[in-house]
């Protein structure tokens, strides 16, 4: 049995809206082991976003426990959570969230600027390596508006990799991309997962995207509806290769 990266025990999250209490998560338990590629699916209102915020240490559970790499986040302060995010989580967002008018390399370096232990030289070196890992080694000096959507998302993935996190947390990371580029991103994710052994938690609402992962957790009304191992995981690279070459764009 490999190491548990995530441990979630009977997790609940409630919001108080005026006089009403909204139960976004009503008791969820699951573990994620190192090296897994998990997709979390669910329609809107299923508690997907709330769960993502908690997994990303941006929010804390109301009741229940969440251990990230053995650390109980409930006991941490705002600043300690920020440190934890810096060291253990790599975020990939739907809208890339790159800094405008800033080169790809500087965007990738960003998380390391908030890490005291990394020197300027090491920061640069690691950023270059991360860009190589996402096959953008020749795009160091390009600013986001000089890059395509897929390339921007790859810069964002490099930024998520640069601090060597225990988990990459992707929030609808293919949501703004066309299907071909989505497959490219998924192929990259699969490669990071299989070759580098990165643990990936991918939030999406597209079943097509979920089929590339090794495990799918279905949320519904704040409960886990289904938690299934994906027996016939598809290879995004193969799908990409079989995609007909079109010239419709």
């Amino acid at each position: 049995m490999s190491k548990k990266i995530l441990e979630i025990k009977d997790l609940k999250r409630e919001f108080i809206m005026g006089s009403e209490t909204v139960h976004a998560l009503r008791g969820i338990s699951f573990d994620v082991n190192a090296g897994e590629f998990v997709t979390i699916m669910g329609s809107s209102g299923s508690g997907k976003t709330t769960l993502l915020n908690i997994l990303g240490c941006l929010d804390k559970p109301s009741i229940g426990n969440y251990f990230l790499d053995g650390v109980d986040i409930k006991s941490l302060s705002r600043d300690e959570l920020a440190q934890l995010r810096n060291h253990k989580i790599g975020f990939v967002f739907q809208s890339y969230n790159l800094l405008p008018r800033t080169t790809a390399l500087e965007n990738v370096e960003l998380p390391l600027l908030y890490n005291r232990d990394v020197s300027a030289a090491e920061r640069r070196e690691r950023a270059i390596k991360a860009l190589e890992a996402v096959k953008l080694a020749d795009r160091h000096d390009h600013t986001p508006n000089q890059l395509s959507g897929g390339q921007q998302q790859r810069v964002a993935i490099a930024r998520a990799l640069v601090n060597e996190p225990v988990m990459i947390l992707a929030d609808e990371a293919t949501g703004n991309l066309d299907s071909r580029t989505s497959y490219e991103i998924m192929a990259l994710m699969q490669e990071l997962n299989s070759k580098q052994g990165k643990t990936i938690v991918f939030v999406t609402h597209e079943p097509d995207i979920a089929s590339f992962s090794s495990r799918t957790i279905q949320l519904r009304d704040g409960h886990i509806q289904k938690d299934t191992q994906n027996e016939n995981k598809r290879s995004a690279k193969e799908v990409l290769d079989n995609l007909p070459v079109t010239d419709d764009y």
């Binding site: 915020n53 990303g56 941006l58 929010d59 705002r78 600043d79 920020a82 440190q83 995010r85 810096n86 060291h87 975020f91 967002f93 969230n97 800094l99 405008p100 008018r101 800033t102 500087e106 960003l110 998380p111 600027l113 908030y114 890490n115 005291r116 300027a120 930024r159 601090n163």
Partner: protein, 406 residues
């Protein structure tokens, strides 16, 4: 987060919006530039006023015999005769802060050149008198200590006397005129000084060695005044104290006795000098304060807009590990960098405009280091003060909401 990283982050953020950063700086640039230029012009005119006042002899000290009671009747000081050569000797030896000293006697009389005559005053003084009173010679030479020793019959002549005794434009140097039936050879011409504040014509004068006037005209051993100059205005009061105690000793006054002399300074002139500079300083400080506050409000305004506009960026930075205080420090650093850069540019512009004023308008200017340092410090403080509130607002954002902000 280390300071270097902090500066790097803030600099990059500013670089992304250069025009805005520059426009924000403009308030500070104009503020600091105008303060430097105005202080320089103010200091320049203050210096030139100071020079003019010094020309009138602000460090001059006068000793006169004091008024006194004589059988219940007050007698004017000038009727007393108490100042002698003994006092000059004692003052020369005993008063440290005095650089020059001259006795003075004077006599009114008729100056005669052939058929022409003119009523005037002859002052008997020592050669130092010219320095003490800031008198200069237009032509010829001054008399010397030797002339004093031998009571030489030589004199210096003022422009008004020349106009009346030599109306044809003859060169008076070397000519002999008579004053009180004594013939005097004219050896120098005084540069004209015009009328003084009380309407007295300062050029209506003859100046001769005091021994000559004492012995040949007045037949007295007493002086009517003693003139002295302090080393500078700052030690004038000190010099007055020294002179007073030396003269009391010299006159053998008991502690219970009043002074039989008065020592006067050019207090009015000194007061004018300091009040002019005081007013100027207050005025400039107020202007500096107002312009820097306006610059600061500009910074605050832009920083607020910037925080709102960059909400998503703040959310991203927080999600990848920036703590609240990292965000606070970043925005504070941006504000400080704007204000300090603006300060530096402002100082340069201040220098430049000062030079332009000097060369085009010919106004005297002095750039004082204190105004540069002060406006620079005020800039940094302005940046911190007006940058803090927006920065705090940024640091308190909730990362979840900030990320979702459109």
């Amino acid at each position: 987060m280390s300071l270097i990283n902090l500066i790097r982050i803030a600099l990059k953020a500013l670089q992304r919006n250069k025009l805005r950063a520059f426009l924000t700086m403009l308030g500070i640039i104009i503020g600091v530039g105008s303060v430097i230029a105005m202080v320089a012009i103010g200091q320049g005119s203050k210096q030139s006023i100071h020079d003019q006042l010094s020309n009138m002899g602000t460090n001059m000290i006068t000793v006169q015999p004091a008024s006194n009671l004589n059988g219940g009747v007050r007698i004017a000081g000038s009727s007393f005769q108490t100042l002698t050569i003994k006092d000059i000797t004692a003052l020369t030896a005993g008063a440290q802060d005095i650089t020059e000293i001259s006795p003075a006697v004077s006599s009114r009389g008729q100056a005669i050149n052939g058929a022409l005559n003119w009523p005037t005053t002859m002052s008997g003084v020592s050669p130092e008198y010219l320095d003490i009173r800031k008198l200069t010679l237009k032509d010829g030479i001054a008399f010397t200590q030797n002339d004093v020793k031998v009571s030489a019959k030589v004199c210096l002549i003022g422009q008004t006397v020349i106009d009346n005794l030599f109306p044809n434009g003859d060169n008076p140097i070397g000519k002999v005129i008579r004053f009180g039936n004594i013939p005097f050879q004219i050896i120098g011409i005084l540069a004209p000084k015009g009328f003084n504040a009380f309407g007295q014509d300062q050029d209506d004068i003859l100046i001769a060695p005091y021994t000559t006037v004492q012995k040949r005209i007045l037949a007295t051993i007493y002086y009517s005044n003693i003139y002295a100059s302090a080393a500078n205005e700052a030690v004038t009061d000190q010099a007055v104290k020294e002179m007073t105690s030396v003269l009391r000793d010299s006159h053998r006054l008991r502690p219970s006795d009043d002074n039989d002399f008065t020592v006067r300074t050019q207090q009015e002139l000194i007061a004018t000098l300091s009040s002019t500079s005081g007013l100027l300083t207050v005025l400039l400080t107020v202007v500096a304060g107002i312009s820097l506050v306006i610059g600061g409000i500009g910074i605050m305004n832009i920083m607020y807009v910037s925080v709102t506009e960059r909400t998503k960026e703040i959310g991203l930075r927080m999600s990848i590990g920036a703590r609240g205080k990292d965000i606070l420090m970043q925005f504070l650093m941006e504000a400080v960098l704007i204000s300090i850069t603006g300060g530096v540019i402002g100082v340069l512009i201040g220098f430049l405009s000062t030079q332009i004023v000097t060369y085009t308008l010919g106004w005297p200017t002095i750039i004082s280091e204190s105004s540069v340092v002060l406006s620079f410090v005020v800039c940094a403080v302005t940046g911190i003060f007006f940058g803090y509130y927006p920065a705090q607002k940024a640091s308190r954002l909730d990362p979840i909401e900030a990320l979702r902000y459109e």
